[in-house]
């Protein structure tokens, strides 16, 4: 069996807000093996970005806290590390690509300044060496004539180019693990595919592992080996991408797949999931999905379903499987 790079074990993230407590991530467990690409899918507010930030320990405290759970990176719990140990991990071992490159890159420093500062801090390169490496990185991510673009500011780049810069920055200190938090969402559709291919290509080339966060199932099908589907702070289904697309077990996953517009002209209308995402300040009892679920039973209102293996490597959290009726 392949080596596990990252394993989340019952990770729970809670925010203590003035209006009350909000559990954004509730008992989330999954693991990613070396060289694997894991997709975390869900609607806005399902807790997928908070999960990513918790892995990087970027949850502000207060108001955020992690009451229980572990984040095992290469075997050791990230949540137990000191700030200094954590800093050694960030950038050098785990890289992160954010959703909106315009706001995720610093507007008043040149691209070279920002990337070379990381290189000098983490790898101890000299100023000249760092500059050489930045040129190398920029051409690696496909920025034309990097020598000329080196000293530009972020606002002087186009959206797609900015995301390339962001990627070059995340990869600058040779991390073995990359977190990409909706890296294509803020981009034009025409550029999305290019950036997606760039990221997956780089991962493969550098032998890295990837946690890919998105709300776009098409992207997952294209890029990921395994998928976790998140709904209202829980993972509701987990498994190999092929298996999940071919044989979805949770009504939410089924709904998501049905709501993808079809191009073969069979349906005139979109098939959305009825209702809307629950209010996380006041979530429904039992299974968070039951108010929108057409199969909802009494037990769904009372008990939170646990993730259960229904086929080898394929897990779902739904009471329908308790009775063996999928």
């Amino acid at each position: 069996m392949a080596e596990t790079v990252l394993a989340l074990d019952e990770l729970t993230v809670r925010f203590r807000l003035r209006r009350g407590d909000l559990t954004a991530v509730d008992g989330v467990s999954f693991s990613i093996e070396r060289g694997q690409t894991f997709g975390l899918v869900g609607e806005s507010g399902s807790g997928k970005s908070v999960t990513a930030k918790a892995i990087m320990r970027l949850i502000p405290d207060p108001p955020g806290e992690i009451p229980h759970g572990r984040v095992l990176f290469e075997g050791s719990n990230i949540l137990d590390k000191s700030d200094t140990e954590m800093r050694a991990l960030r950038g050098r071992r785990i890289g992160m690509v954010f959703q909106e490159p315009m706001s995720a890159l610093n507007p008043v420093f040149t691209v070279c300044d920002q990337i070379s500062d990381a290189l000098r801090t983490n790898l101890g390169l000299s100023k000249a060496e760092a500059r050489e490496r930045v040129i190398e990185l920029l051409s690696l991510v496909g920025i034309p004539s990097p020598q000329k673009r080196l000293d530009s500011y972020v606002h002087e780049f186009s959206g797609g180019m900015r995301q390339r810069v962001m990627l070059a920055m995340a990869l600058s200190c040779n991390p073995s693990f990359l977190i990409a938090d909706e890296p294509t969402t803020a981009l034009d559709v025409t550029i999305q595919a290019t950036i997606l291919e760039l990221i997956t290509g780089m991962i493969e080339r550098l032998g890295m592992s990837l946690l890919f966060i998105t709300h776009n199932l098409g992207v997952v099908a294209h890029a990921c080996d395994r998928v976790g589907v998140m709904y209202a702070s829980h993972i509701v289904e987990l498994g190999d991408t092929r298996e999940i697309f071919a044989n979805p077990q949770h009504p939410y996953t089924v709904g998501l797949l049905n709501s993808i517009p079809r191009l073969d002209g069979q349906a005139k209308y979109l098939t959305p999931i009825a209702g809307s995402v629950c209010n996380m300040m006041d979530p429904p009892s039992g299974c968070k999905f039951h108010p929108r679920c057409s199969h909802a039973m009494d037990i769904c209102r009372r008990e939170i379903p646990r993730l259960k293996e229904i086929a080898p490597g394929h897990l779902a959290a739904c009471h329908l499987h308790d009775r063996g009726t999928a």
Binding site: R90, L105, D117, T121, M166
Partner: protein, 316 residues
């Protein structure tokens, strides 16, 4: 950049022309004339004296001619002589400018030394004791009149404690260390007052910047929290603070009339204040014109500095 600067300088010309017309015509509009003021002090035949003085000051010519004449001389920094001291106004003003610049510049430096660390700290430790203290103090600083605060400072440090002289001025070019003891009180009074505004500004823009994603990006790259805040975030948060400080400096260079009077500081503000009391019209004219020029040029400098801080500003 150069083209932009030149264009901005060219734009100053009409502004300054309008200013000169305003300054000239406001003295022109005052009832009576310089001659009336002067005649009383001259002996002999009053009518003859009037005629001589009118001719000497060129008042027999029409207004527009006199304006052009006055402006022509003003461009060569020749404003005639003071009616009171009989000394050339240009030397009078030139001797006052260093004192004002000295006070204003040190005052702003003090205010930045207070505002930037305090505002940053208050934002980073939001809702802490430091934050509340900073906020209450700066609210008090905005509310308390400057002159009252200055007088209290004089009472405490000069009269009760006897640490510092209550007023006076020594040129820093003659005796730098000696000049400092006279400078401390007025400069601190200015510094605290201006810091009251900029501390709040720095705090709120720092809070604003800290919530932006690039802060997390810097953290995710393994930078220390100190570097994330003082290098990456502060640089962004300083943009509004520096802009406002520049405008504050322009204002202060325009003379801190009240403070200069309290501390007997021989600055340009006090020179104009005294000239008004003594109806020294040519000096008022020249003083206001020079102040106007200083403010306008300072504004230009603030605009140009802005580009250095904020690369997103383009000179279109």
């Amino acid at each position: 950049m150069l083209a932009y600067t030149l264009r901005r300088i060219a734009q100053l010309i009409p502004v300054l022309l309008v200013l000169s017309v305003a300054v000239f015509s406001f003295v022109e509009a005052l009832p009576g004339s310089i001659v009336d003021t002067l005649v009383g002090t001259e002996g002999g035949d009053i009518e003859e004296a009037r005629a001589i003085l009118t001719k000497e000051y060129g008042l027999d010519r029409p207004v527009h001619e006199r304006y052009v004449l006055w402006l022509g001389r003003a461009l060569q920094f020749d404003f005639g002589k003071s009616l009171v001291t009989r000394r050339p106004i240009s030397t009078e003003l030139l001797s006052r400018i260093p004192a004002t610049v000295y006070l204003a510049a040190v005052g702003i430096v003090i205010s930045l030394l207070i505002a930037v660390p305090l505002g940053t700290f208050a934002a980073v430790r939001r809702n802490s004791a430091v934050d509340y203290t900073a906020q209450v103090t700066s609210l008090a600083g905005i509310s308390i009149p400057e002159f009252w605060f200055a007088i209290l400072c004089v009472l405490l440090f000069s009269l009760y404690l006897g640490w510092l002289p209550s007023s006076g001025y020594v040129s820093p070019f003659e005796d730098f260390w000696g000049s400092l003891q006279f400078l401390i009180l007025p400069a601190a009074a200015i510094g605290f007052r201006q810091a009251a505004f900029t501390t709040r500004l720095t705090r709120s823009s720092m809070l604003d910047e800290l919530s932006k994603e690039y802060v997390d990006t810097a953290r995710a790259l393994g930078h220390s929290e100190r570097k994330v805040i003082f290098k990456y975030t502060l640089r962004n948060a300083m943009i509004p603070t520096i802009t406002i400080s520049g405008l504050q400096l322009a204002n202060l260079l325009g003379g801190t009339v009240v403070l200069e009077s309290i501390f007997a500081w021989p600055g340009i503000g006090r020179a104009i204040f005294e000239a008004i009391l003594q109806r020294d019209y040519p000096l008022i004219q020249a003083g206001v014109l020079v102040l106007g020029c200083i403010v306008v040029v300072m504004n230009l400098l603030v605009d140009l500095t802005y580009r250095l801080l904020n690369p997103r500003v383009t000179f279109a």
